[in-house]
């Protein structure tokens, strides 16, 4: 049972969340270019992963108090999201949703401190149609994450979760509130060095009146009630706003004074300017490079220029940029494989897919992920999680090792059964697990450490008890190894 083409595994680790051994065999019939096509053309796969929740062939979810309520209970929303990452047939869509969640980092706890928990969860996770109200922020990322960044940015500015998170809902004509205006420039688009404090004051005034209101009934505790965007014209500051960078294609830096009823256009103009600014293009390209290609090696200028040009040429569409990235020689270059540190959620999902999930619930990953430093829907602040080496404090590494142990214990019978063909010798046994789990390469010394481990505890008999113990132990050692922490 081989790994299949290593390039395919690399594509599916980066473009998705990894691949189970069975699925990897299925992908063997594709050339790598076919895998890229599969990843990019998400619409060719059905969007039905949610309908699999609860079916026996899939990873389980844990329900508390009877009902699974991912639209109104945040722990169930987290489980649903993990389930999607494990079983999606649209991996790039889910991967980009995670990317945007980190980019527009919005945390549940502030929302739940402001509104009832049921509303806070709906704001982040509601699937449109399952309850009254607009889609949650995650669904916005799933629907728009590969499309126009400009359009998505405008929807994010109107998103109820974001309006609570960055205090947009208290941004009014008489007392402008700077939080969103600052962060939309500093973090969501072109970044520090492209604006000054005066721009922040002006940006705050642009978004005055962008607010939310309760609808679907007056009782926010009811799951049928919801919050939706509303533009309060009487709260909009209507004077002109001047910036230090161009807003309009003729180079104009001033948003003109408008009537209050037309004032929402200020925000559209401003966000369009930000989304189409060349430095936004470059900054997004660099973030996508770091996420998809390498955290260790930098892109050369030509790559950034090309990708930024594509972004602007295609009216800020993300999919053409991803197509450029996934087809680039840099991405396909083996020197860039395994040069990104896996996020806790990526580690957990890939481990589940590779080790197996029979009888395992995604809820078991909840506390380990907290200890690894990542809780979905709860980034530490609006800048998102600290990536790369920052994931690997010793306590977090211990949490990864211990998660590997838990998963290995849970799947010991299946692992031993799957490895039965390789039970004739300890060397074959180790070899089977090295092939099965897509860790980065083990050097000679750690490889012999694994073999030495298999040899402990007595002669090799291939008995069921021994196979289960060693299968679980090897799985724990490989999945918990440093080599496995890279994607």
């Amino acid at each position: 049972m081989g790994r299949g083409q290593p390039q395919t595994a690399h594509l599916l680790r980066r473009g998705g969340f990894g691949v189970s051994p069975d699925d990897l065999r299925a992908f063997d019939r594709f050339a790598p270019s076919g895998v890229v096509e599969y990843l990019l053309n998400v619409d060719r796969q059905p969007d039905d992963v949610d309908s699999k929740i609860g079916q026996s062939a899939y990873v389980s979810v844990t329900t508390r108090g009877g009902q699974f309520s991912p639209n109104t209970n945040i722990e169930d929303a987290r489980q649903r999201w993990l389930f999607r990452m494990v079983h999606t047939t649209r991996p790039l869509q889910e991967k980009m949703a995670l990317f945007w969640h980190n980019h527009f980092a919005t945390a549940y706890s502030k929302l739940a401190g402001t509104f009832p928990a049921v509303q806070a969860t709906k704001m982040l996770a509601l699937v449109e149609g399952e309850l009254p109200g607009p889609r949650g922020q995650l669904e916005l990322f799933r629907a728009m994450g590969l499309g126009s960044f400009r359009d998505m940015l405008i929807e994010v500015a109107r998103d109820p979760a974001m309006l609570v998170w960055l205090d947009g809902r208290v941004n009014t004509r008489l007392r402008p509130q700077e939080n969103f205006g600052r962060e939309v420039m500093e973090l969501f688009t072109f970044g520090l060095g492209n604006y000054v404090e005066q721009d922040v004051y002006a940006a705050a005034r642009v978004f005055t009146g962008w607010n939310l209101r309760l609808a679907g009934g007056a009782d926010a505790l009811q799951p049928t009630a919801y919050y939706e965007f509303v533009y309060n014209a009487n709260q909009h500051e209507t004077s002109e706003k001047t910036f230090t960078f161009p807003i309009y294609s003729d180079g104009g830096k001033t948003i003109p004074a408008r009537t209050a009823s037309e004032g929402m256009q200020d925000g559209i103009d401003f966000l369009t300017a930000l989304a189409t600014h060349p430095n936004t293009a470059r900054r997004l390209v660099r973030k996508l490079w770091d996420f998809f290609v390498s955290e260790v090696n930098q892109p050369d200028d030509e790559f950034v220029d090309n990708a930024a040009r594509i972004y602007l040429q295609y009216d800020t569409q993300i999919k053409p940029v991803l197509a450029y990235i996934l087809r680039s020689s840099a991405f396909l270059d083996p020197a860039n494989w395994y040069t990104r540190y896996s996020w806790p959620v990526e580690f957990v999902v890939r481990a589940i897919k590779e080790v197996g999930w029979n009888g395992f619930s995604v809820d078991a990953a909840r506390t380990p992920m907290i200890n690894m430093g990542q809780t979905l829907f709860e980034p530490p602040d609006v800048a998102g999680w600290s990536l790369g080496q920052n994931w690997f404090s010793s306590g977090a590494m211990l949490a990864r090792m211990n998660f590997a142990a838990m998963l290995a214990a849970n799947q010991r019978f299946n692992l031993a059964r799957d490895a039965a063909d390789a039970k004739s010798s300890p060397e074959d046994f180790v070899s089977y697990f090295i092939d099965r789990f897509t860790a980065s390469e083990f050097d000679a010394e750690p490889y012999s450490d694994l073999q030495a481990y298999v040899a402990t505890g007595g002669a090799w008999t291939g008995s069921a008890a021994q196979l289960q113990a060693k299968a679980a132990g090897l799985t724990r050692l490989i999945v918990g190894s440093s080599e496995y922490q890279f994607i």
Binding site: E186, P380, G388, Q389, M397, A405, E445, G473, R476
Partner: protein, 418 residues
């Protein structure tokens, strides 16, 4: 100029040196010496603490005129005296424990700490405070650079946060994060001898330092640090203390630190932090509401920790240094909160602290000639460079060489807090 985290990591890893574990005897020696040696507890209030509501210039009329709804009424202030410029000051009403500590002479308040061209970005601001380099935040943290000068020990420092703060990042010293000592243990899918064999194998596998694969070496170092420290952490995992610690994250983290100190782990630097200080809106009427809750969390945690150590005669070796990445605008905004500002308060607490009020309070009058303000009278201008406080801690508390650690001589103007 802003240096991104990305370039920091690349710079750091290419300079990664091989040696992680000092020879055994040095570790033991360090532990023997360190069992009761001086330690530093850094307490970071994350989000930008509104210092003007922490230490209040309650006789300045502009405090009330510029903060019509959120200013703390003078009648509620816990008075602590005047500074050298004659400004009357008092603490927020919830800081009763700190007031007691102040009266014992063990709380130093450093006013108007900061630096020129103060950043109003959380991330850049925090980076600057963490690296002590406003002009170009360098890769490593100021405490990380200090730790490189002391004998190696996997527990020479630890953080109670899940993320490693940049202040503790260093090229060669691995600092564990121990958010909850009770779960800091090794799990195995097997039991008995098999589990022992597994742990030994895991330790061996993580022991390799492949010089041609520096990223892998880095993660191995983390794994190694975790494994090395498991048994030692277990010695204080169930520490409960001689006082009742409040049931919140900050107090629990301080209790973990107290346990480590009491059990003589030899740790030199601890990091604790608590968040929620980014009070853009709804800060609380008259110092109440959300801000009062923040002050209670801060006060009650520090007081419990202080009393716990004092009860056991361990206060003289411990220094708490509190900071925040910036303070906030003098005038309240229209949402009953405050936006990002500039200079603010640092505090030092401990048995060796020379308590008192250092520096001078700002005058809050928005007059262009007022030298204590900046940004058109919108923010407080710094008076004491935060690096001089760091220098004082490094030189005066640890007996280290602040010029070398901070990359410059910042001793001038440093408050004589220790």
């Amino acid at each position: 100029m802003h240096v991104s985290r990305r370039s920091f990591i690349r710079g750091g890893i290419s300079a990664f040196t091989v040696t992680l574990a000092a020879p055994e005897f040095l570790c033991d020696l360090a532990r023997a010496q360190g069992a009761r040696s001086r330690n530093l507890v850094v307490l970071y209030l994350a989000g930008g603490n509104d210092s003007l509501n922490t230490v209040v210039p309650y006789r300045d009329p502009f405090y009330y005129s510029r903060r019509p709804t959120i200013a703390v009424p003078a009648a509620n202030i816990l008075q602590i005296g005047t500074d050298t410029a004659g400004n009357a000051l008092g603490l927020h009403p919830r800081l009763t424990g700190l007031r007691d500590i102040f009266n014992q002479g063990r709380l130093a308040i450093i006013q108007r700490s900061g630096y020129a061209n103060s950043s109003r970005s959380h991330f850049q601001g925090a980076d600057i405070w963490n690296t002590a380099d406003p002009s170009s935040p360098s890769s490593m943290g100021w405490l990380g650079r200090f730790l490189e000068t002391v004998p190696r020990d996997p527990l020479v420092a630890f953080t109670t946060t899940r993320d490693l703060p940049r202040a503790l990042m260093s090229r060669s010293v691995s600092v564990p994060s121990i958010p909850d000592a009770r779960v800091y243990s090794f799990a195995s899918p097997n039991i008995g001898d098999e589990a022992v064999n597994e742990r030994a194998a895991a330790t061996r596998i993580a022991s390799h330092v492949p010089v041609d694969r520096p990223q892998l070496a880095f993660v191995n170092a983390s794994a190694r640090a975790a494994l090395d420290t498991l048994d030692r952490v277990a010695t204080f995992a169930n520490y409960t203390g001689t006082v009742t610690y409040p049931n919140n994250g900050l107090a629990q983290a301080l209790r973990t630190v107290a346990g480590s100190i009491v059990r003589g782990l030899g740790t030199r630097v601890y990091w604790v932090q608590t968040g929620g200080f980014d009070t853009h809106a709804g800060e609380g009427l008259q110092g109440g509401g959300a801000y009062a809750t923040l002050m209670s969390t801060f006060n009650d945690g520090v007081l419990a920790f202080y009393n716990d150590l004092r009860n056991q005669g361990l206060l003289s070796d411990t220094l708490i240094l509190q900071f925040s990445e910036f303070s906030r605008r003098i005038s309240e905004n229209g949402s009953g909160g405050t936006d990002h500002g500039a200079a603010g308060i640092m505090m030092a607490v401990g048995g060796g602290v020379r308590g008192g009020i250092y520096g001078s309070a700002p005058s809050l009058e928005p007059n262009p000639a007022n030298p204590t303000l900046e940004n058109n009278g919108g923010d407080v201008r710094y008076e004491t460079d935060f690096r001089s406080v760091y220098a004082k801690v490094l030189d005066g508390w640890f007996g280290a060489n602040s010029i070398s650690v901070l990359g410059g001589d910042f001793r001038a103007g440093g408050p004589a807090i220790v």
